[in-house]
Amino acid sequence: MNFSLTSSLNSVALPKPFLSHSHRHDHHHERKPTIKLSLITCRSATNYESSFTYKVKDGENESTNFYKLLSLNPNINTSKDEIKKAYRSMALRYHPDVCHDPSISSTKEFVRLNQAYKTLSDPVLREEYDYELGLKICVGTTRVGFKMDNIRNHGVGAAQNRWRQQVLELKRKSNCRMAQKEGSWASRMRRAHNISTMD
């Protein structure tokens, strides 16, 4: 997989991996949106000693599926209230204040729960996540509709801003790749994830 910088600059259709990951990243709604190397953060390992070892994990498996983390069935029709309720009941089990089972790493569990909740309780992040899980079918028309929604929800400015950040990020990555022949770890990660095929 190779990014073509020119094509992404000229076309509105951005490479999917960046779009989805940066959106899923939970900084999206905060005051100063900054894009990060999303692949590192989006599935953060909470055990800090192991945080530096990037795990090549498929997004669909048990441990990282946000719906399953909240004991929900992956379903686009799950209501926001159901998600909130699921989050609260899981929090009552796994929050370090209430979880006194030494065999469970409650802090780690709870940080993952938060991540899942933050994604699924935000309509935009959730829609993108649902696409990624394959819960929604990615046909051309839907895709356009989705993008339009996105712009409507966030204002053209925000969408543009994000898009520009993504281009910058691509540029930086591409520079890094020049430095290292085999490509950056991020691009190899992307290959490992095989995310590009979703586009």
Binding site: H27, A91, L168, Q180
Partner: protein, 569 residues
């Protein structure tokens, strides 16, 4: 001279490690050390109970007197009258001074208190002293709080007939992490182990969650509440989403404004041009200021229930104040304080992404909640006609702390009264210095805790082999506007053009609010750090000295700088 009542604990004691392995054999008690009053509460097996001292008081004045070299606090000692507290021998308002350096405006405003607060304005801790037999005897805020905690502990041990070790302490939301270490130090000196430090409004939120637990357990619909807590020293606001006994803190805001500011503004209003008198350390002047303080406090209390009050006081130095003050005057001289209160509410609602119409309940607690203007401004800012009624304004925070103590001690209740949880959020952003002198937040304000976040930085210069990670906490855009938490160096960065090495900084906050900073170097094409990762517990700065950062700058300039990987557009 009598033995000090507290045990001396090492300053470098790692209380955080202890927290993880703490045994939960006893129910932790809740303590609310207020700027002016303290209280202790505990879960007694079926409900929260406030403990009373030997004089049958639930609320005890927060002060320590150093008469005759034997310190004694407001829990046990009986003072003939208020005037004794203001004679120079008593130290109070320590919550406003703990963990602050002498360049802090809050320290400067404390100079009008009737004991010695000496500042040099160089960013070190102020000198605090009590007048004992005509000698200024120096002490520290930690020592005063520790003496007071020893008395509270002894009182609780008598009432509960068991040794007390674990406590949940309420703290102001605006406390920096450095101030928290000072509070923990005071607890360690008093032989107490801090199980949790809870921002006051979040303790109130837990009590609210308990009161509402039965109502909406199964409906899943959550209630948004705004909690406004203003005492003598601090004003805090929280927005919480509550359902089924779980209170999720959406946002926190706080500032060191409180009843003390209202009092000082009013004292200056009653006695214009009194600056030299207020900050004087002469015996007679202290006495005069004490008299003025008592009279002003009484007037403010009266103005909560009546629209005007007659102030009649002889300061003993030839000055007599005889004046009728009305409520409008009081509100006018304190306009800035009230404006700040309103702005905290607006900021908190904004951070929580909540509109006033989404707020179901508005809770106003703390000593200042009796002031009509406070009630009306909170109601008007929240566009509400009435306030939540189910709480005792003075007991709410300590009751919440006692609930948290029971929950965090692993207690369960057959009736489900303890199926409660507060999901905390960070009150201040934490980040590092990068892109020149800028503060780059890694964990933003109001992030759910425990939390782990990271950000990638890169070198600012070609072939830069080392980088400084300087960690700050606060809201300012420039680093100097924030609290320095600590710093360390990343070494052994492989020589490369600037912008190529990736320096990954992870901030990790656990459930006990312990902060760890991890940093490591990654080179493109590798996903293993180049060298062992640095893991540093913060804060590491000893005295909160801002000038540590200046010293670093003097020695290293910008040679060890970092820049963010993605510049903001």
């Amino acid at each position: 001279m009598a033995e000090p009542a507290y045990t001396v604990a090492s300053d470098s004691e790692t209380t955080g490690e202890e927290k993880l392995s703490a045994t939960f054999s006893e129910t932790a008690i809740g303590i609310d050390i207020g700027t002016s009053q303290c209280s202790v509460a505990v879960w007694n097996g079926s409900q929260v109970e406030l403990l009373k001292n030997t004089r049958n008081q639930k609320m005890m004045r927060s002060y320590v007197t150093f008469k005759d070299e034997n310190p004694s606090g407001g829990v046990s000692s009986q003072l003939a009258n208020e005037q004794d507290v203001l004679s120079g021998a008593a130290i109070f308002n320590m919550k406003r001074l703990i963990g602050r350096v002498d360049t802090d405006p809050v320290v400067h405003s404390s100079k009008s208190l009737p004991f010695l607060v000496q500042t040099l304005g160089i960013g070190v801790r102020p000198l605090i002293a009590a007048l004992v037999n005509n000698v200024w005897r120096s002490t520290t805020p930690e020592e005063v709080v520790a003496i007071f905690l020893v008395e509270l502990k002894a009182m609780a041990e008598i009432r509960l007939k068991r040794p007390i070790k674990n406590v949940v302490l309420t703290i102001p939301a605006s406390f920096s992490r450095f101030q928290l270490t000072r509070i923990e130090r005071a607890c360690a000196m008093a032989g107490l182990h801090v199980l949790r430090l809870m921002p006051e409004p979040t303790a109130v939120a837990l009590l609210y969650a308990q009161q509402n637990a039965s109502q909406n357990t199964n409906t899943g619909s959550e209630k948004i509440a705004l909690i406004f807590n203003m005492g003598a020293g601090y004003c805090d606001v929280a927005v919480t989403a509550t359902a089924g006994g779980v209170s999720q803190i959406k946002a926190l805001a706080g500032s060191a404004i409180g009843g003390e500011d209202l009092l000082q503004n009013m004292m200056r209003h009653l006695l214009p041009d009194s600056e030299s008198l207020l900050t004087s350390c002469g015996l007679d002047d202290i006495k005069s200021v004490g008299l003025l303080r008592v009279a002003t406090q009484e007037a403010i209390h009266s103005l909560s229930s009546q629209t005007n009050v007659q102030v009649d006081v002889d300061l003993g130095n030839g000055t007599k104040i005889c004046k009728v003050v009305d409520r409008g005057e009081f509100e006018e001289v304190n306009q800035d304080v009230f404006d700040k209160c309103a702005s905290l509410i607006i900021q908190c609602l904004h951070d929580a992404k909540v509109d006033t119409e989404d707020v179901s309940d508005v809770i106003v607690v703390g000593g200042c909640s009796y002031i009509p203007k406070i009630k009306s401004l909170v109601m008007s800012t929240c566009k509400k006609q009435e306030l939540y009624k189910g709480m005792n304004p003075l007991e709410a925070a300590v009751s919440g702390a006692a609930l948290e103590g029971a929950v965090a001690s692993g207690l369960s209740d057959p009736f489900g009264s303890l199926d409660l949880l507060t999901i905390q959020a960070t009150p201040l952003a934490i980040g590092i210095r990068a892109d020149g002198n800028n503060f780059v937040p890694i964990i933003p304000r109001s992030t759910t805790m425990p939390a782990q976040k990271d950000l990638i930085f890169t070198t600012a210069h070609d072939n830069q082999a080392e980088a400084l990670i300087i960690v700050y906490e606060g809201e300012g855009k420039k680093v100097e506007e924030n609290h320095l938490l600590g710093y360390f160096k990343i070494t052994g960065i492989p020589l490369a053009p600037k912008g190529v090495p990736e320096i990954r900084v992870i901030l990790d906050i656990d459930a006990s609010s312990v902060l760890r900073v991890l940093a490591g170097v990654l080179m493109p094409g590798s996903h293993q750090p180049v060298n062992p990762v640095m893991g540093v517990r913060m804060p590491t700065v000893d005295d909160g000295h801002g000038w540590c950062a200046e010293a670093l700058n003097r020695v290293y300039g910008s040679t060890l700088d970092l820049v963010t990987v993605q510049r903001k557009i």
